[in-house]
């Protein structure tokens, strides 16, 4: 899947809440629990299913944090892959909607 057409959405199985700028995320299916740093939180919050990951990285990450765009894109893809493997994020080459519980 080319990196420029990745769309991400939050799974309906998760619980999430920000605590002092960091996002707590828990998947009720297996009780995996994560805390996301500020950059990851920005990506997670922007995961609306119809904004491409590259646009999220450009508008939310590079805009707000002092990071190299290429490195930010690579890190974002790795982060998305990890959360996707735990069922926290849904990934598609097509726009998708965040699942309603």
């Amino acid at each position: 899947m080319p990196e420029n057409c990745i769309y991400i959405a939050r799974s309906s199985a998760i619980a999430a809440r920000a605590l002092a700028g960091e996002m707590m995320v828990m998947n009720s299916a297996d009780s995996t629990f994560f805390t996301l740093n500020e950059v990851a939180t920005a990506i997670f919050q922007a995961a609306d299913g119809h904004t491409a990951l590259r646009d999220i990285v450009r508008d939310q990450v590079c805009e707000q944090f002092d990071v190299d765009p290429e490195q930010a894109q690579a890190d974002a893809e790795q982060f998305v892959a990890e959360l996707s493997s735990h069922g926290i994020l849904l990934v598609s080459s097509q726009p998708l909607s965040s699942e309603a519980p």
Binding site: A15, R17, S31, P101
Partner: protein, 372 residues
């Protein structure tokens, strides 16, 4: 320290209410012999009021949300409430007797992404369970519901409240939990009734029987660790706080009253009258609860158990002072370790007095009058 503990500590330090227990009703279809609740409806929050409260809790940073009662499914709008809570991305746990859960309800609970369902089971013997709940066939219905929930892949915990009438059944219930593929928790705490009636305390397991429970590795894990004599407290320990009540946890009644904990009947405000965050941040009662450090405890600050005791400030409050000892926890500390507590020594006792006859002043958790 686990990641979960780290987050809990962070919320505690920041004063964020990371966990809330909300009773959506006190009505119930069972009449358990030990229950402390008045089951009449004195003006429960409406669906809209609960949804508004949930919006406020999400804004306040609440992550872990427990719905309980009464029996939650006595509310016809319960799924609508859970749906709203999950839309707000709370981690939702439900406490229920499960007798109203069938295949359809189990499927809906799974669809809503509920984290855990905690279900009360008092005995592996149907006749004992039904005699406690006073609802015929409740055991069969509850166990059937657990199977429906498990078929949906849901995480279920059996909560086994132990009292005189079922004190020998914990191993049977534990075995049943294993057969059903669910977790098991045991609780020997019986709480006085909301109207101040202490007669239910006669159901408490006599202290002399607690060692059998506390020294059972199947129930407490490492006996060596659990029953270890208390370590002398450090200065840092004495700067510490009792528990999360009022620091990162609170309780909301079906009438909108906010308390530091479900076992701490100190009214701090009502969300029908004030915003939740206003109560949480500025209620003088909440601030007072939050201010109490181990060194401030009138008796317990000089007790050798002060760092390891499960002292409940709510039960202490019910006994007369939130800074005083909680006799039930003194008893547990003694029977767990064999070491007398400061509270006992001051009264010249070599073993705890029986608690069932207590005449402690009780304060009822009841609705605060709200103007129409």
């Amino acid at each position: 320290m686990s990641l979960m503990s780290e987050v809990g500590q962070k919320a505690f330090n920041l004063g964020v209410p990371i966990a809330v227990h909300m009773d959506v009703t006190y009505r119930c279809n069972e009449r358990c012999v030990h229950c402390y609740l008045d089951h009449d409806d004195h003006g429960e929050m409406t669906t809209a009021e609960i949804k508004d409260a949930l919006d406020q809790l999400a804004e306040a940073g609440v992550f872990f949300l427990t719905f309980s009662g009464g029996e939650v499914f006595m509310r016809r709008d319960f799924f609508e409430i859970v749906e709203h809570a999950r839309h707000l991305m709370f981690n939702v746990k439900i406490k229920t007797n499960a007798v109203m859960i069938h295949e359809k309800e189990a499927r809906r609970i799974r669809e809503l992404g509920v984290d855990t369902i905690q279900i009360s089971v008092y005995s592996h013997r149907p006749e004992v369970h039904d005699a406690i709940t006073k609802l015929p066939h409740s055991f069969d219905r509850t166990i059937k519901a657990i199977r429906f929930l498990r078929e949906q892949g849901l995480r279920v915990t059996i909560a086994n409240v132990l009292m005189t009438v079922n004190s020998s059944d914990h191993s049977g219930v534990q075995k049943l939990a294993a057969e059903l593929g669910v977790q098991y928790t045991l609780d020997p705490t019986i709480t006085p009734m909301m109207d101040g009636d202490t007669s239910v305390l006669s159901l408490r397991i006599p202290g002399e029987e607690l060692p059998e429970i506390f020294h059972n590795p199947a129930l407490v894990g490492s006996q060596e660790e659990f029953c270890a004599p208390p370590k002398p407290p450090s200065e840092e320990d004495l700067e510490g706080y009792s528990c999360s009540a009022g620091h990162s946890f609170c309780y909301i009644s079906p009438y909108g009253d906010v308390f530091p904990c479900v076992q701490f009947p100190l009214p701090t405000g009502n969300i029908r009258q004030r915003k939740f965050l206003d109560i949480w941040n500025f209620s003088p009662e909440m601030k007072e609860v939050r201010s109490i450090q181990a060194k401030d405890l009138t008796v317990c600050s000089s007790c050798s158990h002060v760092t390891s005791c499960t002292r409940c400030p709510g039960l202490a409050y019910v006994e007369g002072s939130m800074r005083g000892p909680s006799t039930a926890d003194c008893e547990k500390s003694f029977y767990r370790t064999g070491v007398p507590t400061e509270n006992m020594l001051r009264q010249g006792l070599s073993k705890p007095r029986t608690i069932s006859g207590t005449t402690a002043t009780l304060i009822q958790i009841r609705p605060i009058a709200v103007p129409a």
